[in-house]
């Protein structure tokens, strides 16, 4: 649908990822200098000029599988390591958080304000590093340039495209359940009270006009909710009060990140079965992914000593347990590059992926490229 959705999806998901990682780094008492390096490395990679250039090109949204691959890479853009179970959980949290924000935006264009909230927080993470700060500032400019001229209808198309991407995801997130913004069946609470969006009147009035335009009658009806007037407009510029809280950091050390795997509704399982069908990535998608990944320059760790593992669960045992007990239909699936018929795109992607090989990766069997790399990608 909309060909301008990917930058918003990427920046908002990336922002959520940074909130979560920041919380976990502090919860695990990772030394401040290492934690800062992780955050800086990831943000530098996220806002890499070449990568963003590809991202901002008009294109259809990627599949969930393809986007997950991009975030896998991003999460490993530094000395931090994440096991499969933690990576799964991280991605669950990121996607459910952004789904929530998209659903609750009062107006479609408020998604841009949500994006600015994430950008503001990212800017704060790197405020002491001028080089990265300038990359972030440039991205603000690109966002403003691309999105502020769009009409309401075009924003709604972007929102509809995002909602298709998030369709049928009902993973329960502890923090949402506690705050009562998500029900126990995984669906978000949509309140019928609160401020109406800017530009909308509180429902309740019917006005009848004469042919000459004068008001003849005014009638009231009961709107069944409890609405109040709209809040003031948020800032769509580089700085300013965004007004909406959607997209701001909801985690802190005392509010841990948890998801519940059990009890996910049957219908979501049905749908994800359709998605996870063993089809190879479409050739088009593979090409796009290759171009995008080409821009993701990853730093190789100096030595395996400086690397460390972050766990998104409370204990290692919990993490292992989560991996074993994750329902099949909720696995994000591997991109089976071998199955693709397009040898050229395949080779291109393999080459790029090859550049990402970290020496400390325990799953790498041999150092030669080709089949072993494919096997390693499949093992992701």
């Amino acid at each position: 649908m909309s060909t301008r959705t990917l930058p918003l999806l990427f920046i908002n998901l990336g922002g959520e990822m940074l909130y979560i990682l920041d919380q976990r780094l502090r919860a695990q008492n990772i030394p401040a200098d290492k934690a800062k390096k992780v955050m800086n490395d990831i943000i530098t990679t996220m806002f890499n000029k070449k990568f963003l250039e590809e991202l901002f090109k008009p294109q259809e949204l990627y599949s969930k599988k393809a986007l997950r691959t991009v975030f896998d890479r991003l999460a490993h853009a530094s000395i931090m390591r994440l096991n499969q179970a933690s990576m799964d959980k991280l991605y669950d949290l990121m996607t459910m958080a952004f789904k929530y924000q998209v659903l609750l935006c009062p107006r479609p264009k408020d998604i841009l304000l949500v994006s600015f909230n994430h950008m503001d927080a990212i800017k704060d993470f790197v405020k002491d590093t001028p080089s990265i700060l300038s990359q972030v500032d440039e991205t603000y400019q690109q966002l403003i340039e691309m999105y502020t001229p769009l009409s309401n209808g075009e924003f709604q198309l972007i929102r509809q495209t995002l909602l298709i991407f998030f369709q049928d995801m009902h993973i329960r997130v502890s923090i949402f359940l506690k705050d009562k913004v998500q029900n126990s069946n995984g669906r978000f609470v949509l309140p019928t009270n609160g401020p109406v969006p800017r530009g909308t009147q509180i429902p309740g009035m019917i006005r009848i006009f004469s042919c000459s335009g004068e008001e003849l009658t005014r009638l009231q009806f009961n709107n069944g909710g409890n609405y109040s007037s709209a809040l003031r407009e948020g800032s769509f510029e580089m700085f300013g009060n965004r007004v909406t809280k959607l997209g701001t950091n909801m985690y802190s050390v005392s509010r841990p990140v948890e998801t519940h795997m059990s009890g996910t509704s049957k219908s979501s399982a049905q749908h994800t079965k359709v998605n996870a069908a063993p089809n190879p990535l479409a050739k088009e998608e593979l090409n796009l992914l290759a171009r995008l990944m080409g821009g993701l320059e990853v730093q190789k760790p100096g030595s395996t000593d400086t690397g460390f593992r972050v766990n998104l669960f409370a204990t290692d045992e919990e993490e292992e347990e989560a991996l074993i007990s994750r329902p099949n239909e909720l696995s994000y699936g591997v991109i089976s590059i071998q199955a693709t018929k397009d040898q050229q795109a395949n080779a291109e992607l393999t080459k790029i992926m090859g550049e990402f090989t970290e020496s400390g990766d325990p799953s790498s069997s041999a150092s030669s490229k080709g089949d072993d790399l494919l096997a390693m990608m499949d093992g992701l």
Binding site: R159, T200, F221
Partner: protein, 338 residues
Amino acid sequence: MFHKEKSIQLKNSASALYNNLSVLRIAPRRLTYFTVVHANVVNMVSTSWDGLNYSHRQLQSKEPNVATSTSLIMQAAFCALPSRDLLVVSSQKGIQMYESDGSIMVYWHALDTPEAPTAHAVFARGISAVSDNYVCVGVSSGAVLVFDVPSKGSNITLSEVLEEHKEAITDIASECSGSQECLANLVTADDGGNMCVWKSGEEFQLLNKIPGLDMTCSSVKLWKGTVLAGYGTGQIRLYEAVTGILHAEVNAHARWIYSLDIAPFSGLLLSAAEDSFVRVWHLSITPETNSVEIAHLHNECVTDTQICGAKFCDGDGYAFAVTGYDLSEIIRLVACWE
């Protein structure tokens, strides 16, 4: 005044698209068909009036002769013409027309899709039967395609392209088929809230343009010469079609309206929005005296659901059906007045 009946389960959930529910009543066979779009699939359910039999069918948007590509569907709607009923599916790649039970595809029209994606998305959206033998479908460029449909067979042809809108078409509506004579029988609406009023014929005639106020008109209906328009601001406006005179304005919903429907025999109006509410109104229009009355009758809240489709199941408005984003069922409500 309306009570819930047993919901119809769908094979998958409804996508957040405007006017995402279409209903076709087949009286001779005592059946009702429903269609709901999920991404690149059209879910069809056929239900018997006694509530005992349900059958499902899924149509995937795959253009013929193109191996693996799929595309997202923007809308699926039944077009009831005097001689035949069609199911029209509009997607990013083009327009498909099927026999109303979805069994055979009778026509395919490809949109001009560019080699590489452009900043402006390309898709078809907005579907309506017009007069005795036309089906009109809107395009993201603002064009409205007019197809000439013979009383049977697949010799459907593109008869005209109407180019008045500059923004993507959102919805199209018509009234007066068969014996009725109408001055205006077609209205087309776009992303900017602009509307065009037409008279069908071998060459469609533009009768009036109603300017939008930069706010999307997502759903539109035409009844007794009056345009009923639902907007992204949650407002419903009633305009006299040929003159553009504003008759009524309703602050109807707290969020973007996704669907409007009218029961032509009783004047019942249905409006549904992202705010979880479906509202039923009663319209009274006397074209001769130019008088319009609108009264609010009923609210139905579908908890925690952003509604994307709401349609009456019959011309009197005795029953209506509702779909919502992420909901895998069609909710049904039936009137309980005497």
